[in-house]
Assembly symmetry: D2
Homo-oligomer: 336 residues x 4
Amino acid sequence: MIAVLKNNASPERREMLIDWLKKQGLNVHISQGEYQTVLGLIGNTDNVDMDMLRSLDIVDSVTRVSDPFKAVGRKFHPEDSVISINADVSIGGKGFALIAGPCSVENEDQIIYVAQRVKSAGANMLRGGSFKPRTSPYDFQGLGAEGVRLLLKAKKATGLPIVTEIMDIRTLDLFEDVDVIQVGARNTQNFDLLKELGKTRKPILLKRGIAGTIKELLMSAEYIAANGNENVILCERGIRSYDSAYTRNTLDLAAVPVLKELSHLPVIVDPSHATGRSALVPPMALAAAASGANGLMIEVHNDPLHALSDGAQSLTPDQFDDLAARIFKVREALLA
Amino acid sequence: MIAVLKNNASPERREMLIDWLKKQGLNVHISQGEYQTVLGLIGNTDNVDMDMLRSLDIVDSVTRVSDPFKAVGRKFHPEDSVISINADVSIGGKGFALIAGPCSVENEDQIIYVAQRVKSAGANMLRGGSFKPRTSPYDFQGLGAEGVRLLLKAKKATGLPIVTEIMDIRTLDLFEDVDVIQVGARNTQNFDLLKELGKTRKPILLKRGIAGTIKELLMSAEYIAANGNENVILCERGIRSYDSAYTRNTLDLAAVPVLKELSHLPVIVDPSHATGRSALVPPMALAAAASGANGLMIEVHNDPLHALSDGAQSLTPDQFDDLAARIFKVREALLA
Amino acid sequence: MIAVLKNNASPERREMLIDWLKKQGLNVHISQGEYQTVLGLIGNTDNVDMDMLRSLDIVDSVTRVSDPFKAVGRKFHPEDSVISINADVSIGGKGFALIAGPCSVENEDQIIYVAQRVKSAGANMLRGGSFKPRTSPYDFQGLGAEGVRLLLKAKKATGLPIVTEIMDIRTLDLFEDVDVIQVGARNTQNFDLLKELGKTRKPILLKRGIAGTIKELLMSAEYIAANGNENVILCERGIRSYDSAYTRNTLDLAAVPVLKELSHLPVIVDPSHATGRSALVPPMALAAAASGANGLMIEVHNDPLHALSDGAQSLTPDQFDDLAARIFKVREALLA
Amino acid sequence: MIAVLKNNASPERREMLIDWLKKQGLNVHISQGEYQTVLGLIGNTDNVDMDMLRSLDIVDSVTRVSDPFKAVGRKFHPEDSVISINADVSIGGKGFALIAGPCSVENEDQIIYVAQRVKSAGANMLRGGSFKPRTSPYDFQGLGAEGVRLLLKAKKATGLPIVTEIMDIRTLDLFEDVDVIQVGARNTQNFDLLKELGKTRKPILLKRGIAGTIKELLMSAEYIAANGNENVILCERGIRSYDSAYTRNTLDLAAVPVLKELSHLPVIVDPSHATGRSALVPPMALAAAASGANGLMIEVHNDPLHALSDGAQSLTPDQFDDLAARIFKVREALLA
C-alpha cells in the first residue's frame, strides 16, 4: 500500500502517523521527494482502512498495491480452473457450458419437454428456477421444493446436470442432488449465504450483482473460496445503467476478458436476463461466445406467451436450435 | 393497465390477444382510434406480465396505471404514518428522529461513552453495528451477539432506544430487545429476510439498495407490510453513480420528497454512508433536514482515527454537538 | 399520444384540459373506463409537452405512441441504408467497414506507415485525429489543419478513404476532401454543429454521447437528416457506468441490434475508446463483429509506447494483422 | 506522479522505462521495496500519459499526485473568489445569487412580468433562454436574437442583471450587454466554445455535464480560466443516474461542498432542471441553500401550463414568493 503525504505535512504529524502504522504491524518505507513524501506500507495491509488514511489532513492519496483476491486471483493460481460438473461436463479451460431451460419450472411436462429439446440442440446443462426473487411480493414466487423435485425428474429423464437458484440458506438440504447451485444477482452480497455455500463442495454459479462491480463479484467469490469451496463459476448478467429504454440491463461483455485476466475461475454469460428481450438474445449470445466466455446460460421456454415469469426474454426451442448451431460455428471459427 | 396495439395488427391476432387477456380474468375495454387501438385492462392486473405483452408483435406499448404499492402507498392511506419507538420517541409526522452512534460497536466503554455524548447533543436514538456486511471476507465482520449485548447495556445506561442491523434471519432471536431492526443496503432485496421481518411487529429501518430504485425500495417495504408489519422506516443512504472520485455514493435527496409523496411511511437520511467522508456529513445533514426528512442517522465515534470500520466518515462527539445544534435551527426556521 | 386521467378528476377540469388539447389542433378520442378515463390524442403531437401534461393534477400518465424518429427510423424506411464512401467502399447492408489508424496524426511517416499496414491487413478506411477533444486544456490538442493535410497524403499514398473528427464548425472548409466527418462523443448534442453538417452531403460518423441514450443518439442523427443529409453512420463507443476500475467505459453491444431494429442507418463499434486498454480490444472487436455490427473502428499505432494520446488502447500493426484475420473468420462463420 | 512496478519486472525493462521517463524531462526517484519498486516522478508530468504507463507489462499502478486544477483549484488561491456582476450583485463569499425566470423567453409581456415578480420576491438576477438546446430537431428552439433583445428590455425595466445561454460561438456578438453567459450541460465539454469564452471577460455560468464528473466540470472551468477569464460560476444541475422514474436527473448536492473544497469558484444549484417537476423544486432549493451553495437558479413562469418548454418544472410567481422567503430563513438560521 502506498500513501502519499501532502507537502505541508508537519514533521510531528508525519511521525505520529508513521508510529501508528508501525503499531499496526507494518513496515514503513519512507521516500522523501522534493514536493511530497511517499510511504510504502509493507506487510499485511488487509486491516488498514484506506478511507481512514485518505481522510487524514496530511494524506494526499492512498493506493492499494497488493491484490485483494487471494484465493480466486490469478496471481497465485495462474492456470485456468476447470470445474467438473459430472463425468461428461466441465466448465473452464476448453470446456464450454451451454446451459438452457425455462426461467421458472412450471410443471413436469414442461420441464422434461424443454430439457429434451435443449439437449438435442447441444446444451449440456439444464437450468430452471424453483425459488424466484421477484421485486413485488404479489408476483409468482416459484414452485419451491416441488420445483426442485421436478428438475431432478428432468435430470433423470435426460442425463443433463441441473442448475437452480438458492435464496434462503435454510433450504440448503433441498439442493443435495442439484449439480450447480446458483446465487442470483440480488444475493451476490448476501455474505452469510456465501459463507455457508463456502462450506459445501458444490459448484456455485455466482451472478454479478444488479449494479455490482467486477471487484465486488470477485470479492463475493472470495467469500465462498475463503470458506473452503473453490468451485465457483462467475456469471455476467448485465448491469444497471442509465439507459433502460430498450434493454433491461446493459450487458457488460468486456467483463469477460477482464474477469479472466484477474481470476482463474470460469466466466459465463446470461444474455437473457441482460437484455430482457428475446430478439436481442441471439446477437448477444454470439457476441459473448466471440468474447471468449466459458459458457452461456440461455432461457428457453416451450410457450413463451404463457410463461409465468420472464416470458419476454425466452427463446422457443426452435429458435434455440438455430442459435446453438451458430454459437458452435463461432467457437469453431475462433478455435481454428 | 393500458396496451396500445400497432396499426398493422391483423384483426385475427388482435382477437386472439383479447381472448387471452379475458381468460386471465380481465375486462378489456377496446378503444379504436384512427391510427391505433387502445386496450384498457380492468381488474386484477398484478399477474399480467408487462414485458411479455410488450414483446408481442402486435403491441406497441404497455403502461401500468394502477399503483403497485398497495400497503405502503399513499393512495389508500393518505395520512403520514407515525411509528412509536418508545414512550418518548416516534418517527413520522412532526416527530424527528436524530439517530447517532458508531458504525461498529467495539467495546462497552466506547458504546456507552458515545451514547451519552450523542444523547446530550440531542440525539433520541442510538445506532451501532454488531453484524457488519463487508465487501471483503478478510475485513472486520462485527462483534456479533456480543455487540448486541453491549448496545443493550448502552440503552440501559442512557435510556436511548437502539437500532442495529440484521444480516441473517437465523439470528432474529438476538434482536428481541432491540427497538428498531435495520436492513442494510445489501439486503434490501433479500426477500426471504423481508418476509420474516414482516411477521414480527418490530419497527424496521429499511435502507435503499446500493443501486436501488425508489420503486424497488417501496416494493421491498411492501414485502414487509404485506406480511403484516407496517412499521417500516425508509432510509435514503446514497446511490451508486458513475462519479465516486470524491464521494463514496451520490446522496439522492430528491428521494425524500418523492418517497413522501408516494408513501405514508417516514423517510430518514444517512449522510455518513452516502458521502463516506466526515467533512461532507454536516452540509449533507443540514440539506437533508431542509429537504423535509423525518430524521437523520449519523455516525459518531469517540476516536475516528482508530475506528475498526468506516472511520473516515465518523464525526467526533464535539463535531456532532455543533451539527445537532445547527440541524435544530434549520428545522425551527422551516417550521416557523 | 395517450393520456390517462386520474379517477378523481372533476368533470370541469377534464373539460378544460380537453378544450386546451383541441386548441393545440389535436383530435381527442375519449375512452371512459370504470376506474379511469383515457384520452387518445390524434394529430401532430410533436409540440405537446409530455412533462407538462404529466405534471397536471388530474393526469395519471402520458405515453407517446408515435415514433419520434421520422427520417432515421425504420418505420418509413424499412430497408437498410447503404452509404457509399467511394467506388470501392460502402457501409451498411452487406458492406463491412474496417476502419483503422492512430488516435492522433503525429507526422507524415507515422500516418503513411500505419495506413499501409492497416490496408495490407484488410482495413478499408483510415482513421486519424487532427482536432482532439481533451479533458484538460494542458493535454495535446492535435495537429489541427496540418493533421488533415497529412491524412490526405496518406489517402493519396494508399487509396484508403479517410475519417477524421470535426470539433468546431468554423473549420468545416478544411474537411472538403475528407471522406467521412466524425462527430465525437462530446459533440453528439452540439446541435448547431449537427445542423450545419446536415447541410453538407458528406457521410457523417456520429458517435454516441459519453453517457448518451440510444434515443438521444438517434435524435442527434435526426438533426443531421432533418437538415438534408441522410448519410449518417452510428457508432457505439462505450457508455459511462459506475464501474470504471478495469475499463474506461462500458461497451454496450446490445445497442447494435437495438439501433438496427429502430433505424435503417448502419451501426459500427469502436472497441478502442470503449475499453481504453489494448488487451481488451481483440475480444470486444470479435464480439462486436458477432453481434451484427456493420463495421469496426480500431486504433492502431506503430509505436503505442510513444503515442501522443491514447497509447494504452492502441494495437501494434502486427496485433492488428492477427485481429483482422480473426474478425473476417467470425463474419464468414456467421454469413455461412 | 507515482508509478508502482510489478514485482516480476526485469531489471532491463525497468531501466528502459526509467530512461524513457527521464527523456520526458522528469526526475525519477526510485524507492526499492521488498515486494515492489515505486517510482516517484517529479517535474512537469502534465504530458505523461497515465493510461499508457498503466498499460505497460511491468507497471502495476499509477497515481497522479499533483493537482490538475491549476487556475481554478484552491491550492494556489485559498480564498473564495467573489465575482461582481454589477454594482449591487456579486456571487461568492457571503454574496448569495437568487437567479429566477422562465426557461424560455416567449414575448415581451411575459419576460417583463416575470422579471418584476421575481425581483419583488427577492431575486437579484433574471434568467431566460433564447437559444434552447433541444433533444429533438422538431421541438421549439428558442427565439434566438429576438429573445436576447427582450431580455435586455426586462433588464432595463427592472434593473436586474441577466443570464442567458450561448450555444454557438458565432453568436457571441449578441451577448455584449448580457451580464452572465451560461454554458449549458450539453456544451460543458465543447472545448472550442470554452476557449473563446476564456478570451472574454464576461462572467460565465458553467453547468455540469449531463453525466459529467466533478473533475470534468473543474477541467472545463480550467479551459476558460487558462485562456484568461477567471470569472466562472459553477452550477450543479443534476446528473444522469439509473433511476429517472420520478425525477429527470439526480441532484448531486454533495457536489456543492466538494466543489467548494477543491476550488475557489462560487457554486450554485439549479433544482428546476435537476428534478424536472415543480413539486420537487422547493424542497431541493431549501436543501441546496442548507448545503452551503452560493446561489440558486430557479425557473419561474407566469403560466406554466402554456410554457413553450419545461413547463412541468416551473413555479408560478406566487409559489416563488413563498419559496424565496423560506430560502432566506434557512440562510439566516445557518449564518446566525
